[in-house]
């Protein structure tokens, strides 16, 4: 698998505070990579290091197979669209005038600019001053600026911040369709549900460390869901020394793998404990995330 972004031991410290710690990212080509983490976990700093806007304290960043630093940024940046923190846009100028600045800055054609504006469906508002835009419209303008250069890699930091549900859905569809066209999209969020619905690969950051990286299925495999034992006689099962907590329908048993579950059933049957049912709790991505990030919170 080709990786558009790779990092090796990427670390950023400010004084004695480590913000990003030994990150080994692998962002595959043509996917939507969801970069998840609670607020303050180091997502924005990581993205800034990927764009060479912040110098790593240690470690290396490669983009399109080439080292990314302040020397190579100029060559690589025409292929990278980005939106970091709040969306860019001069408030005293109209959307059209802002896009004209981007066109001149990047030496783009009118067609490229028009296409980007059409993609984010902002065409009807281009003659309004940006200061009169809603946050959602500003986000769209920021994304249009990132898209205008027709990038092969998009790095978007919380692009759905401030958008209403319809706007979020639209951006989600847009990013998925871009990935369908071969554009690699790295999108950060602290909203699990949002990323869950568009990302095919996830990277989860907790306290500056990468606590998981892989597909959604791999993420669920990583965390063993609790087992629910349905029985009318939970006290007899507990008498066997099981590590379980009583619930209405029987017992809840954490941390048991598939082989452990089979052994448990054999043991219960051998001791004549009635087993009416046994199933695993379906866990939400949020619960898995909370487990991995040490319940830092999802504010």
């Amino acid at each position: 698998m080709n990786h558009v972004i790779t990092t090796e031991g990427l670390t950023k410290t400010y004084g004695s505070r480590t913000v990003v710690d030994s990150l080994d990212l692998r962002v595959p080509e043509g996917c939507v990579y969801g970069f998840l983490g609670p607020n303050g976990s180091g997502k924005s700093t990581t993205m800034k290091m990927l764009l060479s806007l912040v110098r790593p304290t240690r470690g290396e960043v490669s983009v399109f197979g080439r080292p990314m630093d302040h020397r190579t940024r100029h060559e690589l940046s025409p292929r990278i669209g980005s939106l970091i923190e709040s969306p860019p846009g001069y408030g005293h100028l109209t959307g059209r005038e802002n896009m004209a600045i981007v066109r001149r800055m990047l030496d783009l054609t009118d067609r490229q600019v028009e296409r980007a504006v059409a993609t984010v469906r902002l065409g009807d508002h281009m003659d309004k001053p940006v200061r009169a835009y809603s946050l959602g419209m500003k986000q769209r303008l920021g994304i249009a600026m990132a898209l205008a250069r027709e990038p092969r890699l998009l790095i978007l930091d919380e692009p759905t911040n401030g958008l209403d549900p319809a706007g979020i859905e639209e951006i989600r569809d847009l990013l998925k369709s871009l990935a369908g066209e071969g554009v690699t999209v790295m999108v950060s969020s602290h909203l699990l549900d949002e990323v869950d619905r568009m990302a095919s690969v996830l990277g989860i950051l907790g306290r500056g460390r990468l606590v998981f990286q892989g597909t959604r299925a791999e993420l669920f495999d990583r965390s063993t869901p609790d087992l629910i034992l349905q029985t009318f006689e939970p006290e007899r099962a507990l008498a066997l020394g099981l590590s379980a907590s009583p619930i209405d329908e029987g017992l809840r048993l954490p941390g048991l793998g598939d082989d452990d579950a089979a052994a448990l059933v054999r043991r219960l049957v051998r001791h004549d404990v009635p087993v009416h049912g046994l199933y695993r709790v379906r866990r939400s991505l949020e619960e898995v995330f909370m487990d991995l990030t040490g319940r830092e919170g999802l504010s």
Partner: protein, 253 residues
């Protein structure tokens, strides 16, 4: 650089840069020329001993010392604040334009605005003197030298204010520095000569082309080496600061 300057011109739209320059021009001309309409001044229009042109020039020196530091601070603050407010530093950085280059481009555009303002102030005030009927031969060279020096001091302080505005998000800081600078510039006209060379704003007084001596206005000029050193240091510091901004991480603030 050319492209960056073009972009800055584009960004000045609706920032009212030109309106500000126009207002300051009108203010300087009106306040400096107020005395032209007094009866006592009119009596000396044909008398070289009354030094009508020199008096007018001294008025301009005082009013310019009062207003120029504020104008420079406001222009620099407005042109830089848009980058803070709009993530412009980041947008430019990702397009290959560092914050230092942006500041240099802003210096070119605002420098042009300040040049036109100083030229307009000098020419309009000179014309005002002719229109009201000063008959004594005008000291054109003296006036032109003052205009040039005023512009150079403005440009030196523009560099300082651009750097300050880029480093400090809150533009009230730059404006406050400008206001304090204006006070210092005016008081430097009344203080001993050396005081004008202590702070950059003192140079508004040091460049005065006329000075009082025994109830007479005599020709004056700044200490050449000190003035040259000030200008060179200001240029070197501004270019050094721009270089630093280009190398620094993220935005300049």
């Amino acid at each position: 650089m050319r492209m960056a300057v073009g972009l800055e011109v584009h960004k000045t739209r609706r920032l009212r840069v030109w309106v500000l320059c126009l207002v300051m021009t009108v203010a300087v001309v009106a306040l400096s020329g107020m005395n032209l309409f007094s009866e006592s001044a009119r009596e000396g229009f044909a008398d070289p001993a009354a030094q009508p042109w020199e008096s007018l020039l001294l008025n301009q020196v005082m009013i310019s010392a009062m207003t120029s530091p504020v104008l420079v601070a406001v222009l620099a603050g407005r042109q830089v604040d848009i980058e803070h407010q709009s993530q412009g530093w980041f947008l430019a950085r990702m397009s290959g334009l560092g914050p230092g280059l942006l500041c240099r481009a802003k210096a070119v555009v605002l420098g042009l605005a300040l040049t036109l303002t100083v030229v307009a102030q000098c020419v309009l005030l000179f014309l005002a003197g002719l229109v009201v009927g000063i008959e004594v031969a005008p000291p054109v060279a003296l006036w032109a030298r003052y205009g040039l020096f005023l512009l150079l001091v403005n440009l030196a302080l523009l560099g300082l204010h651009l750097w300050l505005a880029a480093r400090v998000d809150n533009q009230l800081v730059g404006l406050g520095v400008g206001l304090l600078g204006a006070f210092y510039a005016v008081y430097a006209l009344l203080m001993p000569t050396w005081a004008a060379y202590v702070l950059p704003w003192g140079y508004y007084a040091a460049i005065s082309p006329v000075a009082m001596a025994d109830d007479q206005l005599i020709e004056s000029m700044p200490i050449p080496w000190a003035f040259a050193l000030f200008l060179c240091a200001a240029a070197a510091l501004f270019l050094g600061a721009c270089r630093y901004l280009d190398r620094a991480e993220g935005g300049p603030a």
